[in-house]
């Protein structure tokens, strides 16, 4: 069975880049443009991993992760933060919210796929 990954980013080009890399590696992808859009797409179906930006309109990534972790269905879903934010304080916020990894943009798809493979297996 193909594993499903949700990609949350307000930049369409980043969503496309991530999606191409993930689909190429055999994953199914659900795209969302911000935290609120992502919450609306949590329909109860299994999501094996979430890749999420931090700075987004409407609902930022950290707030979305906190909401995600409150949902019993997705409480243990691993989250990778994919962001231009490189500050240790912000990373600590992400960790406290429940993220499992932090990738700083610009990134190479291979790096991201490695991180995905480590968390999803």
């Amino acid at each position: 069975m193909d594993k499903t990954i949700m990609v949350v980013d307000d930049s369409a080009s980043i969503r496309q880049l991530v999606s191409i890399a993930l689909k190429g590696a055999g994953y199914k992808v659900i795209e969302a443009r911000d935290g609120l859009d992502a919450l609306s797409k949590l329909t109860g179906d299994k999501i094996h991993l979430v890749i999420c930006d931090v700075n987004m309109p409407n609902m930022d990534g950290i707030s979305f992760v906190k909401e995600l972790k409150l949902n019993p269905r997705y409480k243990f879903t691993p989250v990778i933060m994919l962001t231009t934010e490189a500050g240790r304080d912000k990373m600590a916020e992400g960790k406290a919210a429940g993220a499992k990894a932090w990738v700083v943009k610009p990134f190479q798809p291979a790096q991201m796929l490695d991180a995905v493979a480590k968390l999803i297996s």
């Binding site: 080009s13 496309q16 880049l17 992400g94 700083v104 610009p106």
Partner: protein, 395 residues
């Protein structure tokens, strides 16, 4: 010491000197000389005081001029500051709108580019999948198998040729049988001739026996006719066999020629088909090679386009940096608007803590580049509290 201050010191000193001469000198000098000295001192003091007063008046005028200039300068500064504030408050929103326009244009263009490149990658991937399927269908092993089948077909044709040879052998053997039959026909003719001779002798003996041999003579005559018919039959058989042999020899010659022609045709067909198969094999090998090369080129193109998509990440960072600049200018504008109102109402002077503003600005940075460029100059050192671009941290 400034000149005005020296005046302030000189006046009391002069007055003190005059007072001293009035109080102390009369005790040592009595009479007129004393009065003359006192008058001289008083005159000198008066002259000195007048000069000082004029000097002080001139300095006062200069001070008033300076004060007026300073007042005018302050007014000009205040006016300029107001104008500067107005310019800032009017221009910044326009700059912000332009920055937003740049962000929108950049975002839209990069999104469009990204979509096109993503479609290209999908098309190339799809093309590669189809090419792989075609490559999979071109199996050189299959051509080898077809070649083996053709070889088997040739072997069967050769075996058919061998069967034809066997048929010719059978025909030759029939010739032998025909010779035997010919001999047998000769034997029949010989027997018929001997029988005829015997019947002739029997007829002679029957004639010599007279009336008693008449019946025997009839038998002898019948035997002679029978032998004559046997001789005719023997000749007919010989003739037929001769014709049969001629026909069979003709068949043999014809069959031999056919067999030779078949052998030649078979060999020619084998050579032709071998050449065709070899040509097909070569073309198939070339096709497979070209297909593999095409797949390799496609993979390289796909990889390059994916790298372009990676490079397009710059727009996300540029957009965030411009967004921060716009937000920062907005904040400063709001702050200046409040200050302007306060300043205009005369309640208080403009107060801005530049360091605090810079520190607040740092808290809104989202990229490594912003932290690097915050200080004057072109610093490219990573702040200690920042992770490197492209780094992956696991918690």
């Amino acid at each position: 010491m400034p000149r005005s201050n020296s005046f302030l010191v000189a006046i009391p000193v002069g007055l003190a000197a005059l007072a001293a001469s009035l109080f102390f000198l009369p005790s040592y000098l009595n009479g007129y000389p004393t009065a003359a000295l006192m008058l001289l001192a008083g005159g000198l003091a008066s002259v000195w005081v007048r000069r000082r007063v004029r000097s002080l008046e001139a300095e006062l005028v200069q001070l008033r001029q300076t004060q007026e200039e300073q007042r005018q300068s302050t007014e000009r500064f205040s006016h300029n500051l107001e104008r500067l504030l107005t310019v800032w408050l009017k221009l910044v929103p326009v700059w912000n709108r332009h920055i937003d326009t740049c962000r929108e244009i950049g975002n839209e263009a990069v999104q469009e580019l990204s979509t096109r490149f993503a479609e290209l990658v999908q098309l190339i991937d799809s093309s590669r999948a189809e090419s792989r399927a075609v490559q999979g269908s071109i199996d050189l092993g299959d051509i080898g198998s077809d070649k083996a089948h053709l070889q088997q077909l040739f072997e069967e044709m050769k075996s058919f040729d061998a069967t034809t040879d066997q048929l010719y052998e059978q025909i030759n053997r029939l010739n032998t049988f025909a010779d035997d039959l010919d001999n047998m026909a000769g034997a029949v003719a010989s027997i018929a001739e001997q029988t005829n001779m015997l019947a002739l002798n029997a007829a002679i003996e029957a004639a010599r026996a007279g009336e008693a041999g008449r019946g025997f003579a009839v038998v002898a005559q019948e035997i002679r006719e029978l032998s004559s018919q046997s001789a005719d039959t023997g000749r007919h058989i010989t003739e037929r066999i001769e014709r049969l042999k001629e026909s069979m020899e003709e068949i043999g010659r014809s069959a031999s020629k056919t067999s030779e022609k078949e052998d030649e045709n078979l060999a020619e067909s084998e050579r032709f088909i071998a050449k065709v198969v070899e040509h097909l094999e070569e073309r198939a090998r070339r096709l497979v090679g070209e297909g593999e090369q095409l797949l390799s080129v496609n993979a390289e193109i796909s990889s390059q386009i994916e790298q372009v998509l990676v490079e397009l990440q710059f727009q996300d960072r540029v957009s965030q940096i411009l967004g921060q600049v716009s937000h920062s200018m907005d904040s400063l504008t709001r702050l200046l608007e409040v200050n302007e109102q306060e300043f205009a109402s005369g309640r208080r002077a403009i107060s801005l803590d530049v360091q605090q503003l810079l520190n607040e600005m740092k808290t809104t940075y989202t990229t490594v580049e912003q932290h690097n460029r915050h200080e004057a100059g072109d610093k490219h050192t990573e702040p200690d509290d920042n992770a490197e671009a492209g780094s992956v941290s696991f918690f």
